[in-house]
Structure formats: structure tokens, C-alpha cells
Amino acid sequence: MLTAVPISWYLTLSAVLFALGVAGFLFRRNVITVFMSIELMLNAVNLSFVTFSYHNKTNDGHLFTFFVMVVAAAEAAVGLAIILTVFKNKGTLNIDEVDSMKN
Amino acid sequence: MDAIFDSFIIVSIIKALVIFAVLMTTLAYLQWVERKVIAHVQVRPGPYRVGPHGLLQPLADVIKLITKEDLVPPYVNKVFYLAAPFLAITMALLSISVIPFGPIITVGPVRTWMQMTDLNIGVLFVLAASSMGVYGIALAGWASNNKYSLLGGLRSSAQMISYELPMSLAIAAPLLISNTLSLRDLVETQAGGFWHWNLVGGGQVVSFIIFIIAAFAETNRVPFDLPEAENELVAGFHTEYSSMKFASFFMAEYANMITVSAMATLLFLGGWMAPWPVEYGSSFVPPLIFAFFGLVLLYHGKQAVRKWDKITFPAFGIIFLVIAAIFLIPMVQGWLLPLFWFLAKTGAILFVFIWIRATLPRFRYDQLMAFTWKGLFPVAMLNLLITAFLVALRTK
């Protein structure tokens, strides 16, 4: 039986999570859920970074993950503020209904 | 290989069970201590009838809470309503698992540390567990489907995450001096005597004060307990909870109190280290303290006013004298003395928690938030900068 986990399993898990994030981003219509799918994609990429850092025996991947987390925090703050403003003006959280710039 | 594996697992399980049992008893009796101290501050006896001086009151409370009707209102969101107290108490108990109570001890054939596990990121683990504890309160407030609970839950969570910032900065300053994140090594760097403690020798007085103030807010204690104040918001986020779930929230609050007091002891007051080295007689201080209180109790027992006290005071006096004698046995001194110092320091900080609850009024919510963002956070940042500057100068 297997005694250790092959590194490709971690990369496959990262790909699965990323694909699920893309599916959520494309199929859901509640803007907060779409935003959470973006966070899911960022987490999948973080896992990929840390795995490759293990593979190359260096901690540069960890540093990149750290910066991705920091940027995700800043983006979440500003993004949620924008969502609050859109909700105040349009009264809905459904992205299909925010279409006042459509022809 | 298998033998080491097995004994490690068995020793860990035994340690976990011992710590869990002691912690649960301490939580129950911490409530007794709180009620007694607040009562004596307000010049009244406190719990007195159930057992001698109310010592069986926590048992009565536990029986009452277990046998109360466990009501789940029909209008709540069942999944989150049931998950919230579970989350709260799990995260509160998780942080106790990395706290060191003493040095290496030898029990029979096993040599082990008086700590469930030592992580080299121990401080970060405790911070992570307290960050996750916010979810229990936020979800409880939201799932109860009740205006007061929602407001209480939101206010409490906002307060907890706002005060996490000055707390983390206040933790970072003694970490610069001790140069390690592992809680066991943190205590080892403060060995030698009270002039090595981070509070005295490291000069971290401002960090200590900021940490204690932030700890009050993190655990929702007076003067920061607006989210669960009874005359403001009915009962805040635990309005709709009854029986064991309500008890879980209370246990989580007291467990958080014990965790932050233990962290203050480890970071600033030297953990389980004695205030001056053993060669100069510090191992006689605990027996002296216990013997003194035993004699005081025997003296008062002779002239007791109430009938039962003629029996209970001398009984407790004799128990204290026996404990003082136990402290002089060299075989148990190896683990009993460090445990005594750790519990004494943590107990002193818990007493300050209870003392302040009996004394101060509570802050209004906007005063509370303004205090952290405009007052505590800049002071904590400045303190960290100055500490970093002084550490860099010292190592030049």
C-alpha cells in the first residue's frame, strides 16, 4: 500500500479546487457567492505555490503565498465595500439585475 | 519503533484526560471564586448554603443546567444554531493544549513535559484559536433569528476582531525579546529570577497593560461586556439558548479567560519559574503561605460566629497545614513547585479580572471601538517600534 503521498496528488487537488471556483464564478448569480468563488480560486493557487516550493526545496513559494493572502485581504475589503455601495443603490444582490449600462 | 509510538500515544492520551478533567473542575470553581469575590466586595456573603461556604454550588449549577429543558425554538436556523456553541467551546479548549504548566517531570518510567504538546509556532496557534472563536458568537447571534441576538452577536464579533490587533502587537513585543514563538522556550528564556521576566527585565510594562486591556475585550468581560449585558440587550447573543448550549457559552468564556491569563503569565511573568532561585529559599514560600492561612483559619475557627463555621474553619485550616507539609516533601517538589508558581501567577491575573468586574462600569459601544482604534492600536504600534529599536541597539 502507499506509504507516502505523491506530489501530483496535491497538484490535482489544487486543480480540482480551482475548477470548482471557476464553476462557482460562472454559474452563480449572487454577487457575494461569486466573490467567494474568487477566494476559493486564490486558495487553490496558494496550495499550488506551497507544493512547488516543497518540490524545489526553497521557501520562495511560501513568500508568494503570503503576498497572495495580503492582496486577497485588501481586495476583499474593497470588493465588499463596492458590493455594499451597489446594494445601497440598486437594492439587489443579483448580478443579472445590475445591467443599467446595457443597450 | 512501535514501543516509542505506543507510549507516546498513551502518555498523550493520559495527559489530555488529566488536563481536561482539571480544566473542567477549574471552570466550575472559577465561577464559585467569582461569585464569592464579587459578593465580598459588595459586603454580602455570596453562595453560602450549598455545602460549606457554597463550595458545592457549582455542582448544583451543573445539575440545574443539565436537567433544564433543552428547547430549540422553531424559527431558528437549526444547523448554525446547534453548531455555534460547539464551535465556541471547541476553539476555547483548543488553546489550552499548548500551554506549559511546568518543566520535565518523571512519573514512573516516563519522562515528559507538563504540557500536552509543544509547537514551534505555539503563540500563533493560540492566536489562531482565538480568531476562530469569533465564529461561534457571530453564528449564534445570526442563527437565533432575533433582533437582540443579531445586534449582540455583531457587536461582540466586531469588538473581538478589533481588539485582536492591539493584542497581537502587544504579544509581538516580548517575542522580540525572547526571540522564539514556542511557549516552552518562551518560559525558558525567563529563567533565573524575577529580574529576568519580560515584565521587569525586558521592560514590557506597556505591552503588559495593553495585553490585559485587550484580553478583557477579547473575552467579553467588564468593562467591555456590552454585547452580553443583561440590561442592554436582553442577554445578547445567547438569548435564545437554554441548558447545555448556554452552559457551553459560559464555559467558553471562562476557558478564554483562563487562556489569556495563562498567556499573560507565559509572556510577561515568567511562566512556571520561581521569582528568585531555589538556592535562596524560594521553595519555602508556598509552604509558608499555606501554613499562614491554615493558622489564620484555625484562629478564626475558635471564635466563629456562626454554628457551622466552628467545624468548617478548623477543618479547612488543618487541610491547608497538610498541604503546606506536602510542599516540603522533596519527592513532589519537582512538579508541585513549578505548578504552584504557574497557578499563583495565573490566579492573580484572574483575580484582577474578577476584581475589575466588581468595580468598573461598562463602556458604551462607540466609546469601546473608538478606544481601540484611536487609542490602543497606535500605542501598541509605538510600543512595538520602541521595543524593536531597543532590541536592535542592544544586540549591536
Binding site: L11, L17, T33, T51, Y54, L63, I83, F87 | W142
Partner: protein, 165 residues
């Protein structure tokens, strides 16, 4: 032991991720996402990244997701309605997704050879090593991201404040 831990927490991560996408109420999605982040933190510990695991729980699961939960509670977001969903999109999309994943997994397997992840195989993930790299090699990104956080704070306050009439 490593294999059991990896399988358990990878399954929990995938189940919670599917829950994020499938659930109608945003709060259920948010708590499932917290579950994903928790399991990923354990996987980071298996990969020797202890500082990143702690940072993931403290920053991502303990602060960013709390922000999401706050906004959902403040906006009183209800469950999404089912009308307007086209089933043809899902009928074509899900098999395409699975085919894409299969292709990706095949190429990933071919790329990485026989290397295995052993707990304790990577020693440079401690806070000391991360701190040394952060303040020497990566000093410029560090300073730039602190400026970025300042911009984000000012932007969020300006966007979300109440107008004083």
C-alpha cells in the same frame, strides 16, 4: 499516517468546496469556505509550511471570512431564487468541467515524477526562515504591499461610510 491525513482533509476540502458552489444561502457558502481554508491549513502543515498554515487560519479564515460573514449578515442576504436558471448550460458545462479536470490531472501526473511528500521533509517553513527571506530578498514587495493595504483601507472607508447630510 500521512496518506490517511491527506485523504481525509483533501476529501473534506473538496466536499466543502462543492458545498460553496452548490448551496443557495450565502452564509452556508461562507462557512463551507471556512471549512475549505481549515483543511488547506492542515495540508500546508503536511507540506512543512507551518507559518503559512498559521497565517491562513489567522488572516484568511479568521479575518477575511469574518468580513464576508459580517457583510452577509448586514445586507440580510437571503437564499438565491431558482428561477431563470438554464439547465442546458449546466448539462453541457459539468461534463466539460470533468473532462478539463481529467486532462489537467493526466498532465500533472506526467510532470512531477516519483517524488513524494513526507512530513518533515521540508524544514525551511518556520517563521524564522520566512522572516529572514521576507526582510532581505522580498523587502520591496513587503513595503509595496503595506502601501497597498493603506490604499485599501482608505478606499473601503470612503466607499462604505454613511453620508453626513
Amino acid at each position: 499516517m500521512d496518506v490517511i491525513l491527506f485523504l481525509v482533509f483533501a476529501l473534506i476540502a473538496v466536499a466543502c468546496a462543492i458545498n460553496v458552489v452548490v448551496q443557495t444561502h450565502p452564509i452556508s457558502s461562507a462557512i463551507s469556505l471556512v471549512g475549505v481554508m481549515g483543511s488547506l491549513a492542515i495540508l500546508y502543515l503536511l507540506l512543512g509550511a507551518e507559518f503559512i498554515a498559521a497565517a491562513q487560519v489567522i488572516v484568511y479564515a479568521g479575518a477575511i471570512m469574518v468580513l464576508f460573514v459580517f457583510v452577509i449578515m448586514l445586507l440580510n442576504a437571503g437564499a438565491e431564487s431558482r428561477k431563470g436558471r438554464s439547465y442546458t448550460v449546466q448539462l453541457i458545462g459539468v461534463p466539460l468541467l470533468i473532462a478539463f479536470l481529467g486532462l489537467l490531472a493526466f498532465f500533472v501526473q506526467g510532470m512531477s515524477g516519483r517524488e513524494t511528500v513526507v512530513f518533515g521533509g521540508f524544514q525551511k517553513g518556520s517563521p524564522r526562515d520566512i522572516g529572514q527571506a521576507l526582510f532581505t530578498t522580498y523587502l520591496l514587495p513587503f513595503e509595496v504591499t503595506s502601501l497597498l493595504i493603506l490604499i485599501a483601507i482608505v478606499g473601503a472607508i470612503v466607499l462604505a461610510r454613511k453620508e453626513i447630510d
